[in-house]
Symmetry: C2
Subunit: 271 residues, 2 copies
C-alpha cells in the first residue's frame, strides 16, 4: 500500500522535511511517497496544494499524512480542511513554549531571520571557500587557519564531510589525502606535523572502498581489493601509532560522519 506524505511550509520546508523523514523512517513496512512543498505563502498556492492533496487521496484510496510548519493561520486553516492526517508542528509546540517563556511568539516567517542570515551567509561562504581551497591537500600552508584537518586514503569520504561541516556549521575543515608515497613513511608527512592536534582520521571497509573507487576508475590497480586493503591497513596502523582519533565511515551517512566528528573533536558550531 502506498501512502503519500506531504511536508508543507511557508518557508524553505527544511524543518518539515527533516522532521517528517525522521518520523516516517520509524515505520519500516510502509512505502511513503514523500512530497515537499515549500514557500506555500499565499492562499492561491494553498488552493493548488489542496488540489494536490485531494488527488493523492483519490490515487492512494487512503488519506495522506500532512506535516506542516506553516506559520500563517489562514493558510494553515485552509489546508487543514483537506482530507488528511494533519501533523501541525508549530501549533503543537509553540503554545506550550509561549506559556513556558511567558511571551508570545512572532508569527512572521522569514522576516526576522534576514539580518541574522547575512552573517551566517558570509561565514559559510568563507568556510566553503576554505574547504574547496584546502581540498585534497592543495594548500597545506593554510592549515593553521583550519578548525580541523581530515586525513584518510582517497575516497574515504573526506571531501563531502568537509563540505558538510562548512555548509551546515561554518566550520573550516581542510583535508589531506594519504597517497602511496605517504604510506611508506614511518611518521606523518611533514606538512601535518605542526597540526597534530587538529587531525581526525577517516577509515573505511576495504570492500566498500574498492566498490567506490571502481565507479571512478573501473578495473584499475587503484580500485583493486588488494590495493584498497593494503592502504586501509597501513593508514589504520598509522592512526593507532600516532594516536589520531578516527571514525570508520563504512555504514555512516555524510551527516553522521560530520556530526560524530564535531561531537568527538568538540568543535564549536559556528552558525
Amino acid at each position: 500500500m502506498n501512502r503519500t506524505a506531504f511536508f508543507i511550509s511557508d518557508g524553505t520546508g527544511i524543518t518539515a522535511e527533516t522532521l517528517g523523514n525522521s518520523l516516517l523512517s520509524q515505520f519500516d513496512g510502509i512505502r511513503f511517497n514523500k512530497v515537499t512543498l515549500p514557500y506555500i505563502d499565499t492562499l492561491e498556492k494553498a488552493q493548488a496544494v489542496a488540489q494536490q492533496i485531494n488527488a493523492a487521496v483519490d490515487a492512494d484510496q487512503v488519506r495522506p499524512i500532512i506535516l506542516d510548519t506553516i506559520v500563517n493561520e489562514e493558510i494553515r486553516a485552509y489546508i487543514a480542511q483537506c482530507n488528511g492526517m494533519m501533523i501541525d508542528v508549530f501549533a503543537t509546540f509553540l503554545k506550550p513554549l509561549e506559556k513556558e517563556l511567558g511571551v508570545h511568539s512572532t508569527y512572521t516567517v522569514g522576516k526576522s531571520h534576514a539580518i541574522q542570515e547575512m552573517h551566517r551567509y558570509k561565514d559559510r561562504i568563507e568556510s566553503v571557500n576554505f574547504a574547496i581551497d584546502n581540498d585534497d591537500g592543495a594548500r597545506t600552508q593554510q592549515y593553521d587557519r583550519a578548525d580541523i584537518i581530515l586525513v584518510g586514503v582517497s575516497r574515504s569520504g573526506k571531501t563531502p564531510s568537509c563540505l558538510y561541516m562548512a555548509l551546515q556549521y561554518g566550520i573550516r575543515a581542510a583535508n589531506y589525502p594519504f597517497t602511496d608515497d605517504d604510506m611508506t613513511l614511518q611518521d606523518l608527512p611533514a606538512c601535518l606535523l605542526p597540526h597534530r592536534d587538529k587531525l581526525y582520521g577517516l577509515t573505511i571497509d576495504p570492500f566498500q572502498l574498492a566498490a567506490i573507487r571502481h565507479e571512478r576508475r573501473p578495473n584499475s590497480r587503484y580500485a583493486s581489493l588488494d590495493q584498497c586493503t593494503l592502504e586501509v591497513r597501513t593508514i589504520e596502523r598509522l592512526f593507532r601509532q600516532q594516536q589520531i582519533p578516527c571514525i570508520n565511515t563504512t555504514t555512516f551517512s555524510v551527516e553522521e560522519i560530520a556530526t560524530r566528528i564535531i561531537s568527538e573533536a568538540r568543535l564549536a558550531r559556528q552558525l
Copy 2:
C-alpha cells in the same frame, strides 16, 4: 535573561536541532544558549547530560528547554527526570502516527537506515564531485549531465548553492560565472547555448556584492561599487532578454536559495 535550550538525540541530532532552531526563532526577544547533544545512546552519556542540564538550571536560575528525539525509552525517561521543559518529539507524534498507519513503529535508531544511507552516500559523493568538477565553468563539456546550471557574476552565491543542492538533495548542479568578456556579448556564451533550459540565474544587490568582493580582494576594481553595479545591471538585462528565470540572493540564506531554485525549476530531489 538567558535560557539554555538543549537539543538531544541518540542519533545525529539534526532533526532536534533543526526543529529546535525553527521553534525558538519564533521568540524574538529571548536570548537562547543552544546546546546540541548528539549520540546520547547509553545511560552513562545520559547521566552526563543530566549533570549538564542541572548546571544550566543553576547558572540561568530558570529551567531550560529540552527538545529531544531520543528513541530509547530508558534514556528518554532518565533525562525526563531533569528539571526542564521537555519537548518530546517522537512521543508526541509517533503515537498518533501509529494509530493512523495501523502499525507499530520500529523503536530502533540508525539500524534500519544503514543500507538506505549507502545509496544516498554514493549519490551524494557523485553529486558533490560533479559540483566541484563543474565549479566556475571548469568543465563545460559535462553540462549535458547537469540537472541545473547556475549562472551569475562572480560571488553571487553560485558555489555554495550548488554544493548545498548536491549534499542535501543529490542534485547535479554546475555553475558558470559571467566574466568581463561574457558581458560584452549580446548573446549567451557558446557553451551555454545548447543548455538554455537548464539555466538559472543568480543576481544580487550591488552594494552587498561589493562588500563580499571587498573581503576577497580589498580595494580592487573587482570589488568597486561601480564595477559591481555595471556587472549586475548587465547580467540582469541578459536574464530578461534571454528569459532565464532568476533569483535575487541578497536577503536569502543558502538553504533558501537552494530550496527556492529546486521548487521553481521543479527539480526532483534525488535523495
